[in-house]
C-alpha cells in the first residue's frame, strides 16, 4: 500500500473526519481564547491591585465614580464582564446609572449640575472652604448631593454625548422654574365621571407644553469645579444584526477584555489631562447607535455635541 492509502486506512471515515475536525477546531479556539482571557484578567487585576493595596484609614471613604450605561441588557453585560472586575480590583466605588430609555442621562447630568448650583447658592455668604478629612463620617442625608470628586464615566458614545450635553446645559444654563400646575376641575355629577375620564387625558396633553429652550450663557458658569469625565468604549452588539459580531466577540474576548480593561484602568488610576474641545466630544463616533423606533428627541440625543471653550477649559478627562 502507498503512504496515502495506509494513512487513509488508519483515519476514521470522511464524515467522521469532517465532524471531528469542525468540533475540535471550534473547541480549540474557544479554549485558547478563554485561557488567554484568564491571563489577561489576572494581569489587569495585578495592575489594579497596586491601588487596592494602599492603606486606608477608617475615616476615609473610597473614591467614587458614576457610570452611565446605555439602557440595554448588552450594556449591563459589557460593564459587568470588562469594566467591573477592574474597578473591583482597584477598590474604586462605582454607581451604575442606567436610564429607562435613551435620552434620559442628559436630564440626569443636567439636574446634577443644577443641584450643585443650588447647593452653592444655599451656602452662607462668608463661607470659606475648609478641608475636613472627617467629612465622610457625618449623616449621609446631610452631606451635599453634588461632589466634584465623583467622576462621570460614560460607557459608549451615546452615553458620552448625553453626558456632555447634560454637562454643557447644566453649566451654561439655569434650572427653569417649575411649570405652573393647572387646577383640575372637581367632578360634581356622578354621571359625568365616565365622560370626564377620557376627556381628562386630552386636557393634560394640551396643557403639557413642550420644554422651552434653555438660555445658554457664560454668566451662568459655576464657580465650583465640574466633575472629571471619562470615556470607555462600548459597542452596541445587541439584536439580530449584532449576532455575528457577538459570536466573533466571544471567540476574541481576550482582546476586548484587554482593550476595555486598559481604559478602565486609566479611570481607576485617576490621572487626568485637559479636555480637548476639538477631539474629545467625538470619541467613539464610529460606534454611535440610533434606533429607528426612537422618538425625535431621543434621536437628537445621539447627535454630536459641541462644547464651547469656556466650558471646556474647566473640564478634565481621565487618561
Amino acid at each position: 500500500m502507498s503512504l496515502l492509502q495506509s494513512l487513509k486506512s488508519r483515519l476514521p471515515s470522511r464524515n467522521w473526519c469532517i465532524f471531528l475536525g469542525t468540533t475540535s477546531t471550534i473547541t480549540g479556539l474557544a479554549i485558547y481564547d478563554k485561557y488567554h482571557l484568564r491571563n489577561v484578567r489576572k494581569e489587569l487585576d495585578q495592575k489594579a491591585a497596586i491601588l487596592a493595596n494602599e492603606p486606608m484609614q477608617t475615616w476615609e471613604v473610597p473614591r467614587k465614580v458614576k457610570v452611565y450605561v446605555a439602557p440595554t441588557h448588552w450594556a449591563r453585560y459589557w460593564f459587568k464582564q470588562y469594566i467591573k472586575p477592574v474597578f473591583d480590583s482597584a477598590a474604586l466605588d462605582y454607581e451604575v446609572v442606567e436610564p429607562k430609555a435613551a435620552g434620559q442621562i442628559h436630564h440626569t447630568v443636567r439636574d446634577l449640575i443644577w443641584t450643585g448650583k443650588d447647593e452653592q447658592r444655599a451656602l452662607p455668604p462668608g463661607h470659606r472652604y475648609e478641608p475636613n478629612p472627617y467629612a465622610a463620617l457625618g449623616n449621609p442625608l446631610e452631606r451635599p448631593k453634588y461632589s466634584a470628586d465623583e467622576g462621570l464615566i460614560a460607557v459608549g458614545p451615546n452615553a458620552w454625548r448625553e453626558v456632555l450635553r447634560g454637562l454643557k446645559e447644566g453649566a451654561l444654563a439655569e434650572r427653569p422654574p417649575p411649570a405652573a400646575v393647572t387646577p383640575v376641575e372637581p367632578t360634581t355629577n356622578a354621571d359625568s365621571e365616565k365622560t370626564d375620564a377620557p376627556s381628562d387625558t386630552p386636557n393634560d396633553e394640551a396643557t403639557a407644553t413642550p420644554e422651552p429652550p434653555l438660555e445658554l450663557s457664560e454668566h451662568n458658569l459655576p464657580s465650583f469645579p465640574l466633575p472629571q469625565l471619562g470615556y470607555i468604549t462600548g459597542r452596541n452588539q445587541s439584536g439580530w444584526t449584532g449576532f455575528p459580531r457577538r459570536v466573533y466577540g466571544w471567540f476574541t474576548e481576550r482582546d476586548t477584555a484587554r482593550e476595555i480593561g486598559e481604559e478602565a484602568l486609566k479611570v481607576a488610576f485617576g490621572r487626568v489631562r485637559e479636555f480637548d474641545v476639538d477631539h474629545d466630544p467625538s470619541l467613539g463616533s464610529k460606534d454611535v447607535y440610533v434606533n429607528k423606533e426612537w422618538s425625535e428627541e431621543q434621536k437628537k440625543s445621539a447627535e454630536s455635541v459641541e462644547i464651547p471653550r469656556t466650558v471646556g477649559e474647566k473640564l478634565y478627562i481621565y487618561n
Binding site: A49, A52, N53, P55, E60, A91
Partner: protein
C-alpha cells in the same frame, strides 16, 4: 427610657428593649465581624492597617448584611402576622 407612672409595664418593655439591644450588639460584634472578616481580609497579611481593597469589601459586606437582615426580618414579621390573622 421613661420610667413614668406605668410601673411594671414599662419594666417589661425595658427588658424587651434590652434584649433587643443585646441581640443587635451580638449581631454586630460577633456575626458581622466573623463573616465579613472571613470574606474580606486574606489570612496572610503584612500590615496591620486596612488597605483600600479590604475597606471597600468590608463596607459592601456590612451594607449587604444589614440590608438582608432587614429584609429577612420584615418577611418573618409578615409571616408571623399572617399566621396570627389565621
Amino acid at each position: 427610657m421613661n420610667f413614668g407612672n406605668f410601673g411594671q409595664q414599662t419594666q417589661v418593655q425595658s427588658n424587651v428593649n434590652m434584649s433587643m439591644a443585646e441581640q443587635e450588639l451580638e449581631m454586630v460584634t460577633t456575626f458581622i465581624v466573623d463573616s465579613c472578616y472571613r470574606k474580606c481580609v486574606p489570612p496572610k497579611y503584612q500590615d496591620g492597617e486596612l488597605n483600600k481593597g479590604e475597606s471597600v469589601c468590608i463596607d459592601r459586606c456590612v451594607a449587604k448584611y444589614f440590608e438582608v437582615n432587614m429584609k429577612v426580618g420584615q418577611k418573618l414579621t409578615a409571616q408571623a402576622n399572617q399566621g396570627q390573622l389565621r
